[in-house]
Amino acid sequence: MFKLEKRLETSRRVVWGVPILSLLLALAAGGLLLAAVGVNPLTAYASIVKGALGSRVAITETLVRATPLILTGLSVSIAFRMLFWNIGAEGQLVMGGIGAAGVALFGPTALPGLPQTPWVYLPLMGLAGIIAGAVWGIIPAILKSAMGVNEIITTLMFNYIAILTYQYLFTDPWKDPQGFGFPGSAEFGRFAWLPRFTGRLHLGIVLGVLAGLLMWIVLTKTRWGYEIALIGENERAARFAGISVFRNIVLVMVFSAGLAGLGGFSEVAGVSHRLLQGLAVGNGFSGIIIAWLAKLHPLRVVGVAILLAALFVGGDQIQITLGLPASIAQVLQGAILIFVLGGDIFSRYRVLRVRTRVAEQEA
């Protein structure tokens, strides 16, 4: 028989060793799958690393991919901190993209007096993205806090509704009339493009890192951050302390969904410069994985998001080099989360071997 005993203190070895071992086990499980389809796992992993970090272009692509992941990871983290299960970052990001694209596409005709410069348009688009995302998050928040409607299901259903809305828009009313039948909106004017540093790397990554810092300050240095933590720890106690749970759920979801919406803005204004297929690629779901792996810590979210982005960029590469489906990256992120989750108990408890009474009598 085995018995679990709570660790009184956690040594450095355990703090680092357990997650690393979990990660290795997840890679081993992924390796079994790769071997089963006749690919040498070591070759595959090596080309993932090479594809993600092997060249200047690869590294910038990884950072480009990391940008929406940082924002959705932060979005999910703050909501999970107060145990509001926001599974809807995907839809909130998509709505943010729609909002930002709407301003870029229709601003010039609707408000001809507005100067068409990035200094005017980019902040407006960012704001529209944040608002559109936040609106998409507020509805489940209100349903939850006013009526107790399960937010896991509502935020998830809102993903599907957002994605179908966005597909509808770029294939129908917002479709580019000069697009030769290709689904997608017209390209935004140059005034609606986020400036780029090198390659496709755009200002969005700076927004992501700043958002991480801002959230870290809010969570650790402000009264509001303390209230969020308290609600997450013990909602009843928070109520007795006079904290309005209703107000906090709504505010946190505005912040959370707004960040995801900002991610949508950053994608359309920084990468695609139009509304088309490819905005809903699972960033919101990966955000959940990132948030949990980062233990809901905003600064760690940035780091974990970059690592996961490397996995995705590398996964796209092995699709080209080894002919493997890129979805291997999605399998691996699921496996990593499962193993890290399962491993966590070993950093909190020690496994002891105990003799049962029967075994003692026999001995």
């Binding site: 799958l33 389809v37 006749g38 299960w85 599974i87 349903l143 009526m147 107790g148 409607v149 399960n150 896991i152 299901i153 509502t154 998830l156 259903m157 809102f158 599907y160 509704i161 179908l164 809305t165 597909q167 509808y168 294939t171 129908d172 699972g282 779901f285 990966s286 959940i288 994985i289 949990w292 489906p325 979805s327 291997i328 990256a329 999605q330 399998v331 992120q333 699921g334 496996a335 989360l337 499962i338 989750l341 399962g342 966590d344 108990i345």
Partner: protein, 316 residues
């Protein structure tokens, strides 16, 4: 076929996969385990069920494979959430995310010669008319000219209800989800029961997936389940954890699918993207209504110990 008959007929057909998954999740949640990996188990059941049926040219093998795959994934959930006491919400999500990815990966790799499965036609469950009953007016075509999986669903629902509410093991199952401490004190093995019903629940979700890929829309396409696993989780709440009431919900959702089909068949100008939103909007609306009404009537809601790991040594 008149309108009512055709809508009923499609509703039954479309609702079957939902009922399998919903009844499975009811068992799991009644035992006190929340399995949000349902969508992942359904989609893995769909792809593996179709692949197994295709390679063996036998749809029954496909059904067995789908059950096995769903059960195996749910077993992983059981090990994590029951033994390793992980957060059940996040573990379930991880299984859905990983399962969706794995299904997409396998769909491109386990076809003939290591190629894709997309676009292949394999064996499928065909309609078997029940002699006599199938020629009844209105209900005949709708309920008695269906495939074997639909008929098994007719058996599953009353059996599940009877097991849950009228038998001793059913009582133990409900007790484990309400108060594991008390049940443990009675000498019932809480861990064993939770493992059992989590695994069986996942197997049923796999079967739901198999009905999609072997009967409803035969074949494999990416994203075949389209969120049905999540709708099933909402249906569990709608059904107040009662298999009999799950039927009403599943028929409602099947009915919405049927109306969508009719509109599209009649060449509606409404965009398919907008039409496809209806089940998701309906889920939110129905869930909000049910939550509101149940809170109002103060009815028995979720099992009291749902989502909480059981630890013999810790007092609650």
């Amino acid at each position: 076929m008149d309108l009512v008959e055709s809508i009923l007929s499609i509703a039954t057909f479309a609702g079957t996969s939902l009922i399998f998954a919903t009844v499975g999740e009811i068992f799991t949640e009644r035992a006190g385990v929340l399995n949000l990996g349902l969508e992942g188990m359904m989609i893995m059941g769909a792809v593996c069920g179709f692949a197994a049926a295709y390679h063996t040219d036998n749809a029954y093998v496909g059904v067995a494979a789908a059950f096995g795959v769903g059960a195996a994934m749910a077993f992983v959930h059981a090990v994590a959430s029951i033994t390793l006491r992980t957060d059940q919400v996040v573990t379930g999500l991880a299984l859905t995310i990983g399962g969706t990815g794995l299904a997409s990966f396998l769909g491109q790799k386990i076809g003939p010669g290591g190629g894709p499965l997309v676009g292949l036609t394999g064996p499928r469950f065909v309609e078997l008319a029940v002699p006599g009953a199938s020629s009844l007016p209105v209900v005949g075509e709708a309920f008695f000219n269906k495939d074997l999986l639909v008929y098994s669903m007719y058996l599953l629902v009353p059996l599940a209800w009877w097991f849950l509410f009228k038998t001793r093991p059913g009582l133990h199952l409900r007790a484990v989800g309400e108060s594991p401490q008390t049940t443990d004190a009675l000498g019932v093995n809480v861990f064993k029961l939770r493992y059992l019903y989590t695994t069986v629940g996942g197997g049923l979700a796999g079967l739901g997936g198999a009905h999609l890929s072997l009967a409803y829309t035969p074949g494999w396409t990416e994203n075949l389940t389209g969120g049905r696993g999540w709708i099933a989780i909402a249906l569990v709440i709608f059904a107040t954890w009662n298999p009999a009431r799950a039927v009403i919900g599943a028929l409602l959702f099947g009915g919405v699918n049927a109306i969508q089909f009719r509109l599209q068949a009649e060449g509606t100008t409404i965009s398919a993207n907008l039409l496809n939103m209806t089940p998701y909007i309906l889920t939110v609306v129905v869930l909000a209504l049910v939550t509101y009404l149940e809170a109002f009537r103060k009815r028995v809601g979720a099992p009291a110990a749902l989502g909480l790991p059981y630890n013999r040594e810790e007092r609650v």
